[in-house]
């Protein structure tokens, strides 16, 4: 082995490098110079035209013609699902449903030209009023084939019919009834028929054909409902007579093709149809304004969108809003919406809907759970144009964009039946609480249309059961994984384990109302006493990172501070100098809330005992624990807890924990300087300056050490190997918008 590698290095490598270099140069040439040579002429930009002048008639296809070949494209019509067909220079929308009569429809067309330019345009088309008029619809490709006679929105009659067979198809399109007659004879086909009604040239509606002796052809009669004619539309004699007598000249006729349903086409490729996700707990509610649990956040983010959204890197990116800009020292904000976004019920998203959504969130009578997060700052939202809004705040708040990216600021629209509809790519299909929830792809997509037809969320509380589901291929995504499972699963074929940093900081707080912790030596000693590296590697399977600040490194505004190395000798000396050796302390910790929480607490108790404290460990069930950690009766000395800043940035990671009056400040840390800097930061628009202020706070807190800084938890997601594009956000939320299966 060794001799081979060394001979490779000495002899083969120089030989191999030559062609590789040449190849690389050639590739570079192709990609740059070649691109320049082949670049299309941009002097005439490609354009797109709407091929309609008149008002849209029932079921009439909408056609756009381009001056250049199209490589992709899609037409979406407000309130009307349908399919877009692309042929070279044209995009044609075939509606699945009636257009509303005498109305205006927003039509959005988007796609790419061959030259690499993309387009997104919105048209408003008027629809014709057929509410009182008779019109005829014939759908080719249906089985049985039918001719429907409509009056307004109602089908008056439906007749089984035979259309043109292969080789002599019935022409499709939009026609008007011309003339009629009682019978005809065609020498060419040696056939005649009764009751003909002409819609185009030689194409007629007529009865089943008869022969030279006017005897109806029984064999042809049996074919009604399937293709048989030379292009005309055959009806039974009785139906043809009715048609002849009742459908007046000039009646609108639409002959359209039944398109293959996309669902039906996809039954062949099993990979696309669904993504199965196993989660530990059940979804609580499909209302982003009223939930704060993790599974609900995950599901809701596929149903609803926020104005801005958090990327995997922890930074914001535009979503429903194209821009969010501060005015008047960040006390007012101007929001520009993305035009051409539709709710999944087909109505367009405008400033009014966004305003109504925020009004719902802030409505004091609804008492929605997440109201408090916004009511504190947000005064009102005003629509200033069809796609622009202004947010008025109680105080300057430069971090408003982060609030707008929070899942609970999603834009929802109440429906008539009391539910909510969103602009997200999926809609709810089925929900069996406690077992599974199925989302299915909606009709309207402002992002790239998602790959998976369905998302199936299963509730599987046992970590081991989730791993088994993943191993047996019953699910594609399993999370969270326990550290024990991670190491086993990572070795398996066909499974990959994603380990991503999260915002979750795990710490042990000290109760500063107790005299013991007022001495800085004691606080420092506790930090030196813990071997965090050992905790992480032995108890958490390496799935965490040592804390270097009160914030997680993924949080925006994080600043790396000095950390406390493991030094039991020093800890003991510090305790001795403070006269605290042998002091009794109680350590509270939850059991079963965080990864290995009680084991970590036990280990910490062990370390503290080692340096000379008498530790009493008290483990709590999570629900009791949250009530017992009550600021009004602080009975604990030390407590273990985790924190995730809701907005993913420094302010919400610092102010609630170190603000003197905050409910979540369980250490009773109080520092006027910290509060002053935090308030200052809320007014500082420049991100650099703001982060410098947050850095100061982090330094001050770390220096004071009101916590034993432990670690930042990683999140682990198990995936089937062929699944790609799953986004693991630091807020412990998974996004499947861009997920796909590699087949």
């Amino acid at each position: 082995m060794f001799s081979f590698t060394s001979s490779f290095r000495k002899r083969l490598l120089p030989v191999a490098l030559g062609p590789v270099t040449i190849l690389a140069c050639f590739c570079w040439f192709l990609s740059t110079a070649g691109g320049w040579l082949l670049q299309p002429d941009y002097t005439t930009r490609p354009a797109l035209f709407l091929s309609h002048q008149n008002k849209l008639r029932p079921f009439e296809p909408i056609t756009f013609t381009a001056t250049e070949e199209l490589v992709s494209g899609k037409i979406q019509v407000q309130g009307v699902p349908g399919q877009t067909v692309r042929d070279h220079h044209r995009l044609i929308f075939h509606p699945d449903r009636l257009y509303p009569f005498a109305d205006e429809l927003q039509v959005k067309v988007e796609g790419w030209f061959r030259s690499g330019e993309n387009f997104t345009e919105i048209y408003v088309l008027e629809t014709a009023d057929y509410s009182e008029r008779m019109w005829v619809e014939a759908v080719e490709g249906e089985r049985p084939q039918l001719v429907r006679v409509w009056r307004g929105e109602e089908v008056q009659a439906a007749f089984p019919a035979s259309f043109g067979k292969a080789g002599s198809p019935t022409p499709g399109g939009v026609f008007y009834i011309k003339d009629r007659g009682r019978e005809f004879w065609s020498e060419k086909y040696q056939e005649g028929a009764y009751y003909w009604v002409r819609f185009q040239g030689n194409y007629l509606f007529h009865s089943v054909p008869f022969d030279r002796n006017k005897v109806l052809k029984k064999s042809e009669e049996a074919k009604l409902g399937s293709p048989a004619s030379h292009g005309c539309i055959r009806l039974s004699v009785k139906d043809a007579k009715w048609f002849y007598e009742n459908v007046p000249d000039g009646t609108y006729v639409i002959i359209r093709k039944a398109l293959p349903k996309p669902e039906a086409a996809k039954t062949f490729s099993t990979g696309r149809d669904k993504l199965v996700i196993a989660m530990a707990t059940d979804v609580v509610k499909l209302d982003p304004h009223d939930t704060s649990d993790n599974p609900s956040a995950i599901v809701n983010m596929h149903l609803f969108d926020t104005l801005l959204e958090l990327g995997e890197d922890g930074n914001l990116r535009p979503a429903l809003a194209l821009s969010v800009e501060p005015r008047k020292n960040a006390q007012e904000w101007v929001v520009k919406l993305r035009p051409g976004v539709f709710f999944q019920d087909g109505t367009p998203l405008t400033a009014e809907e966004v305003k109504a959504s925020f009004q719902r969130l802030l409505d004091p009578t609804l008492k929605l759970a997440r109201r408090g997060l916004f009511a504190e700052y947000l005064q009102k939202v005003v629509a200033t144009g069809p796609f622009t809004l202004r947010f008025y705040l109680n105080q300057p708040l430069v971090i408003l964009p982060f609030f707008l990216a929070h899942t609970s600021a999603a834009i929802v629209k109440p429906t008539a039946d009391g539910g909510l509809v969103g602009t997200g790519p999926y809609i709810l299909k089925k929900w069996e609480p406690g077992y599974e929830l199925v989302l299915t792809k909606g009709h309207y997509h402002w992002r790239k249309e998602p790959y998976f037809e369905k998302l199936v969320f299963k509730t599987v509380p046992e970590a081991s059961a989730r791993s088994v589901l993943l191993e047996t291929g019953t699910c594609d995504v399993a999370f969270p994984l326990s550290p024990l499972e991670v190491q086993r699963l990572a070795k398996k074929d066909g499974i990959k384990v994603l380990t991503e940093p999260s915002h979750r900081v795990i710490y042990i707080g000290m109760n500063l109302t107790k005299p013991l912790f007022r001495r800085p030596e004691v606080r420092q000693a506790l930090n030196y006493a813990i071997d965090k590296k050992a905790l992480i590697s032995r108890l958490l399977g390496g799935l965490a990172e040592e804390s270097t600040s009160p914030l997680a490194p993924t949080a925006v505004g994080y600043h790396r501070c000095a950390s406390f190395p493991y030094d039991p000798q020093k800890a003991r000396e510090l305790l001795k100098s403070a006269g605290a050796l042998g002091a009794k302390v109680t350590l509270w910790a939850p059991k079963g809330r965080y990864l290995q929480d009680h084991k970590v607490a036990e280990a910490v108790a062990g370390y503290l005992t080692e340096v000379g404290l008498a530790v009493e460990l008290k483990l709590w069930e999570w629900s009791s624990y949250m009530s017992m950690l009550n600021r009004n009766s602080p009975q604990w000395d030390l407590f273990l807890l985790g924190w995730v800043p809701a907005t993913g940035e420094a302010y919400m990671g610092l102010a609630p924990l170190f603000g003197a009056e905050s409910r979540s400040n369980l250490t009773f840390y109080r520092n006027p300087q910290v509060e002053k800097i935090l308030n200052e930061a809320l007014k500082t628009e420049d991100p650099g300056e703001r982060n410098a202020l947050f850095a100061q706070v982090q330094e001050l807190v770390t220096d004071f050490a009101p916590w034993i800084f432990l670690y930042v938890q990683d999140q682990t997601v198990g995936l089937a190997r062929e699944i790609n594009g799953v986004e693991v956000l630091p807020t412990e939320v998974l996004a499947f918008h861009r997920a796909w299966r590699n087949q």
């Binding site: 408090g372 406690g434 599987v460 509380p461 081991s464 059961a465 088994v468 589901l469």
Partner: protein, 303 residues
């Protein structure tokens, strides 16, 4: 006999009221606040107060209990504090599954347990082997045997689904896991009581009369053994309804046991109250049925 039955039915009412009061008070004496649990540890004070008001938790306890009782009389178990969905419909779907599980378990284990118990009593040569098997069955915790079954039949062989949701096929493994323990206990019970019965005078008389085989054991033996067996089965059925939590968790089944445990952890008061009341009611109902069965089996009870 009708009066006896009727009085038993009427007795269930004070039992249910007593249980409801007990559950109500026990739940409220537990530390933990549903609003706080719903919102998580990063909730602000204002959020918690607002949600507590919406959940009706700021009313005095007596008022809360009375309104709960009032709803109950109207056949309404209230709505879940967390999901806002009606408790009754939520319970129904889950009780259904658990009842299937319990029924299948009781049926299978009683068939095998009784048959093999009698068999072992009559043919003592096989008894040690069966006793050993039943000892293993009783002493194997169901979560362990459940995981083992999943490992063998789902992961390695791929015959059966490892989790719920695949119709009857997903009930096979949990029923096997549950039956192992129930079967073993029943087997021992039948064996013991039948060994005694074999030495009873009436069996000897029957044999002396020339009765043998199926007629002897079916008519004379089994009938006498049925009293302790049906008592055991009734208790076991009740236990399975409420106590299959571990099995439901291991096999990811959406049963009532798991639902109840989650509701307790989340302090979802109406759900816990509803579930406990329902289970209590079922338990009482089963006992009632068993009492009636006694009358059928044992003519002495009739008089």
């Amino acid at each position: 006999m009708v009066r006896k039955t009727l009085s038993k039915v009427l007795m269930t009412i004070p039992v249910l009221i007593g249980v409801s009061l007990l559950v109500f008070l026990l739940l409220r004496s537990l530390p933990g606040d549903p609003a706080l649990i719903y919102l998580g540890p990063d909730a602000t004070e204002a959020e918690v107060i607002q949600l507590r008001a919406r959940m009706g938790l700021d009313n005095p306890l007596a008022l809360q209990y009375l309104s709960f009782l009032g709803d109950l009389l109207r056949g309404n178990l209230g709505t879940s504090l967390r999901t806002g969905r009606p408790v009754l419909t939520e319970l129904w779907a889950r009780v259904n599954l658990t009842a299937q599980l319990a029924t299948a378990t009781v049926t299978i284990s009683s068939l095998f347990g009784v048959f093999l118990g009698i068999f072992a009593a009559i043919k003592p040569r096989l008894t040690p082997v069966l006793l050993l098997l039943s000892t293993v069955g009783i002493s194997t915790p169901v979560y362990w045997s459940g995981l083992l079954l999943i490992l063998v039949f789902s992961v390695h062989l791929g015959w059966l689904p490892p989790a719920g949701g695949a119709g009857w096929r997903s009930l096979v493994l949990p029923v096997i896991a549950l039956s192992a323990a129930t079967f073993s206990a029943l087997f021992r019970l039948t064996l013991n009581s039948y060994q005694e019965i074999l030495h009873e005078d009436y069996m000897r008389t029957a044999r002396a009369k020339g009765v043998s085989g199926l007629r002897l054991h079916g008519k004379h033996g089994l009938r006498n053994a049925l009293v302790p067996i049906s008592t055991f089965l009734a208790l076991e059925f009740g236990n399975l309804l409420g106590g299959a939590v571990l099995t439901e968790s291991v096999f990811s089944l959406n049963g009532i046991g798991r639902y109840l445990v989650t509701a307790i952890a989340q302090r979802d008061y109406p759900v816990v109250q509803g579930a406990v009341l329902l289970l209590c009611f079922l338990f009482v109902l089963i006992n009632l049925i068993v009492d009636l069965v006694y009358i059928l089996i044992d003519p002495r009870v009739r008089s």
